[in-house]
Symmetry: C2
Subunit: 179 residues, 2 copies
């Protein structure tokens, strides 16, 4: 199963603007790219906070074509939202979640954040690509794209202008790099 992380970031590598949850800072062009890109995945994985800020949109767009998995310490809190094979909540370790997706025949998983899921995937080599939308913004404070003590290297696979000022950069994780 191919695992691709997708994130919109500021120039200073933040995935939220100050304490505001979500990607409200991202350009409309990123939103359009993101919605289209998601259609090419048969499953996606996100943390509780990422789910909460996108909950309405997610619930309005559930489909059997893409299984959404939300990792949370308290799946029971979200029992009313859960729908087998479409939107599932789990407190399982990330390795088990990914194994389970593979066992269910999933081929392409979008990792949608936040910080801890992105970082855990990188730390463990569970990421094939990282797609970042680089917005022309500086925040100074906010949630970081990555945390911990990582030392990962990518190769730049493609570069696209989503708008004159916004870049979509697709990186491939180099597994053999010194880590």
């Amino acid at each position: 199963m191919e695992i691709i992380a997708i994130a919109a970031i500021s120039l200073d590598g933040l995935i939220t603007r100050h304490a505001q949850e979500g990607t409200g800072f991202a350009s409309p062009e990123d939103g359009q790219f993101f919605r289209q890109a998601l259609q090419t995945f048969d499953c996606s994985l996100m943390g509780r906070r990422t789910y909460k800020v996108s909950r309405e949109r997610i619930l309005a767009n559930l489909s059997p074509e893409r299984l959404r998995i939300v990792r949370t310490h308290h799946p029971e809190v979200f029992a009313a939202d859960a729908l087998q094979e479409r939107l599932e909540f789990t407190s399982a370790p990330l390795s088990e979640i990914l194994d389970d997706l593979r066992a269910r025949g999933k081929r392409r998983c979008a990792v949608l954040g936040g910080t801890s899921i992105y970082s855990e995937c990188l730390q463990n080599n569970w990421m094939d690509e990282l797609w970042v939308t680089l917005e022309p913004l500086g925040f100074g404070s906010g949630k970081r794209l990555l945390e911990g003590e990582l030392s990962v290297r990518f190769s730049l696979k493609s570069l696209e202008h989503l708008s004159p000022d916004t870049l979509l950069l697709k990186y491939k994780l180099l597994r053999d790099a010194v880590r």
Copy 2:
């Protein structure tokens, strides 16, 4: 006087790798670009830590063509390094340092970091452009490019490949943007 900040960053917006001071993580191509770019400036400004990691190179390359200013709380510590019009140390506020450079007829100032100088320049609108070399690396921890509660917007002026995986992005600060 034109003020241009120059930085090499990881994908996650860090200017150091973990606790290692300096830009040792940056590619040789960035080093080459940086040295050539500096030649187009008649002055540069940096903080104490930035000076300390580059001290040897700076001392070996002093020239009357570029005045280096180092901001430090304790200029007296560096008295032995100081050389009027070539390498000066000051504890003056940033606004005074910039005014003084203008009064001395300087036309183009390179702001070389670190975090607090970059951020203070942005916070106060004392930056015309930000040039970032985006290295294909993820660190998780290290010094951030920016700090504080900024809300600045740039326009992308140019994009250049320094190597297949390393991008040089030159941004112009949009002064009229909502801050």
